[in-house]
Symmetry: C2
Subunit: 481 residues, 2 copies
């Protein structure tokens, strides 16, 4: 649409990641950053079409796992937020407040939801009566708002973002923990298998939990620049929440008990940032097949081939989204354009090829051209479509290769972080006692304790890398966005 759109990227991903990221967003027309409210952006068709597909995949999996969809109000009364003390403490600095309707000032101000625990659980309190109502599994597709104090970045950290939040009530702490494991599995199914993103799930140290959570687990995706990006997190909430909102049930034994609540929050627009970053290259975007806004583009190099293009389109659209580029531009310009836009497969329809009864296909997963006998072309495209995302995953998995570095002391942590690595070491404690050591790490290296791994195979033998006391944990340290 804009004049610049046909020009390629000039920044290199490895050399200047930040500039590369901004160029990709602007030149491929994912979002316009010129909207006149700070931290808000206009999502353009290329990102909306992708995010709609991402929503579809995530919602399908949640519904298959018996989550039911709701739409809750965007506005939450202040009194609701105040009901759980650590929750309000954590979120108050970030709340956008609605104070007036027309010219009337409200008696009580209303929050633009920063997250919806205090809206959902108030209703859970009304809906749940008996153990027969459990597990009670819900979710909503919604946009949420945070008046971020950190620097905003398109998709990665905006003041309005598009997400899904799933909220569940279980009868016991054990079942709540099983829910957390299910959420991790869902993240694996969707973010890894479908979106092609590699990540590690960490249990966060107590000082980095979600406000009001008992335990917090979060997926860290590794950036090529060595920093990590937190993606979906899932939490077992403290029973302060069920108490505050009266989420009780009569158990089989006739006794009234507090429910165990979990919540899970995949932020679609933020996950999209990782899709851009992990798969993209110096040419531009690279979409996994399943979420590509357009899967196949056909470029007829001569007008005589328009009919052939139409016939191919008709066959391909039975299993993939496909368009023909009839624009009045040079073929080379079109090739670059669609590579930048990240379309998985391009068909270059040339006269010489067709004389030889063959067709040239460019596949963006391997970034190579292949020549296919004309009669096999549809079959070949179907085959590529099935292996496309797997090829992206293979490449993405390499990001983590050799990235984890075992270290023993502050000096080694510092060195590993400087090299863009994730440092792994023995640590005194991820409970309150450990916070001082974590502060030392952050101050000295600029990196954060990301937490422990649930399935950690090693045992913490030896001493804390910082204070030298007996180590209780093995922790991972990285710089984060």
């Amino acid at each position: 649409m804009t004049k610049k759109s046909s020009e390629g990227l000039t920044a290199k991903k490895e050399e200047n990641f930040s500039e590369w990221f901004t160029q990709v967003i602007q030149k491929t027309e994912l979002a316009d950053l010129r909207y006149n409210v700070k931290g808000f952006l206009v999502f353009q068709p290329w990102s909306v079409l992708t995010m709609e597909k991402m929503y579809k995949h995530m919602e399908e999996v949640l519904q298959r796992k018996n989550h039911e969809p709701y739409f809750f109000p965007t506005l939450i009364p202040e009194e609701n937020l105040k009901k759980e003390s650590s929750h309000i403490k954590g979120f108050t600095p970030e709340v956008f407040w609605v104070t007036h309707g027309g010219t009337k000032k409200f008696k009580e101000k209303l929050a633009l939801r920063p997250t919806s625990e205090t809206a959902f659980y108030q209703m859970f309190g009304l809906w749940i009566r008996s153990y027969k109502d459990l597990p009670f599994k819900t979710y909503q597709r919604a946009n949420v708002f945070r008046y971020e104090t950190k620097a905003t970045r398109p998709f990665l950290r905006s003041r309005e973002f598009h997400w899904i939040e799933a909220h569940c009530v279980h009868a016991t702490k054990e079942e709540a923990f099983k829910q957390v494991l299910e959420d991790m599995k869902t993240t694996e199914e969707v973010l890894n298998k479908t979106f092609g993103l590699p990540f590690i799930f960490f249990e966060r140290p107590v000082w980095d939990k979600f406000p009001g959570a008992l335990r917090t687990f979060a997926a860290d995706v590794l950036n090529p620049d060595g920093k990590v990006i937190q993606q979906p997190s899932t939490h077992i909430l403290s029973q302060q929440f069920s108490k505050a909102f009266d989420v009780k049930f009569k158990d089989k034994d006739g006794k009234e008990k507090l429910g165990w609540i979990t919540c899970y929050g995949p932020a679609i627009s933020r996950i999209f940032a990782s899709v851009i970053i992990v798969h993209g290259d110096d040419k531009g975007l690279k979409f996994p097949w399943e979420i590509a806004p357009l899967q196949v583009i056909i470029i007829p190099i001569d007008k005589k081939l328009n009919k052939k293009a139409e016939s191919l389109k008709e066959q391909i659209q039975k299993f993939a989204s496909v368009k023909i580029d009839y624009r009045d531009k040079r073929p080379g310009e079109k090739f670059n354009y669609w590579e930048m836009k990240g379309v998985p497969i391009r068909i270059d329809l040339g006269l010489k090829d067709l004389e030889k009864k063959q067709i040239t296909i460019f596949r963006r997963d391997l970034d190579k051209k292949i020549v296919v006998p004309e009669q096999n072309v549809i079959e070949k495209i179907e085959k590529i479509s099935k292996e496309f995302t797997k090829n992206l995953i293979k490449k993405a998995d390499k990001i983590f290769e050799g990235r984890i570095k075992d270290v023993k002391n502050l000096k080694e942590i510092k060195k590993a972080i400087e090299q863009g690595k994730i440092a792994r070491c023995c640590f005194c404690s991820v409970e309150k006692d450990g916070v001082k050591c974590a502060e030392v790490i952050e101050k000295e290296t600029g990196a954060e304790v990301r937490g422990t791994k649930l399935d950690e195979k090693k045992k913490p033998l030896g001493k804390c890398a910082i204070c030298g006391k007996k180590a209780k944990e093995i922790i991972y340290i990285a710089k984060a966005y």
Copy 2:
């Protein structure tokens, strides 16, 4: 979920429409009205699943007609709203204002979008340069907020609602008018052919235009109680908008010209109200096949039939959504429950039937049971699925039958309105001059001038039914929600 959900409706649609509507919403669990912000509601799974399908149908048609999807910010700066004077005048009394982020007071307050003209057009001004960029056709799926001064009603008039807004820029007024006709056609395709809703499109009188519009066209759906409900409206905006937001383009003749903007707003949650009202009956909901949250329910009356139920489910799920009701309840209770929930087809699996190699099907379109030979049952269900919505449309169309009454004077208008009819008469003018006559009508009858029909075949012969001056128009008068 709640205890009441298995109990049927007690209110009759024809006798006490208002109570019937509330009962349907609560007993079929479409929405919970107990959320603690006035005019806001919690949409429950049964309505969310339906509205998601409604979105899908509407978005598919818009995309087929080359509208591209965007997500614009929910917040709009006050300065944007102020740029078009009649727009701000129309919407200011209804705006929810965001004034603070955390504890910081903003210099300029931000509106929770009541509609997004002033967000879209600011960007259109940046994006559109040349006649080659036109037509520029967009839409977004969004929730919007209006601090309604009128009484709120769930789905029908809430303070937050879920809609689609489509915004287009055209080079000429003629093309803008063609867009309006296309929008009417889209309304026909989706609301009538797919959702089964009958309506009449009226051009609104000047005093009832959308704030900032040159011409406003709106679909009025007729309620069984004689009132009409305004559904999608489409507008040619005054060029004040393009001027205010600098939406200009260089035309073929090299001259810079102002764009002609149109906007179209199908409010999904409000259309859902009409789906409930038009198709529902004293038993409960009745969903058109295409948007039913569940299309087929199987009720095995004996445990021995569970295997048979599973095998039927497997075959049906290839073309329809289907579930088996294994709950520990009496068959009669289950029958009533699913009829109330509006599921199109119910399969009653009984032992006696199966001995006779037959299956009983209940179809909610005709509200009757049919007995089908076992080997034909899948074929029969597929056949019903294809004619289901057509049957609903046939029935719905009858609402309009004999509903339009030709009248000549105020007394006759009054009588027609009292009888729950739409009055049609000659009228002096739908321009400014006519507003006094319209006020007389509203004061004396409680009904409103809904406007003129574009395809009106009759000519306005004679005199205005109110003032007696020469009539320029034929107008329609009805009570409205």
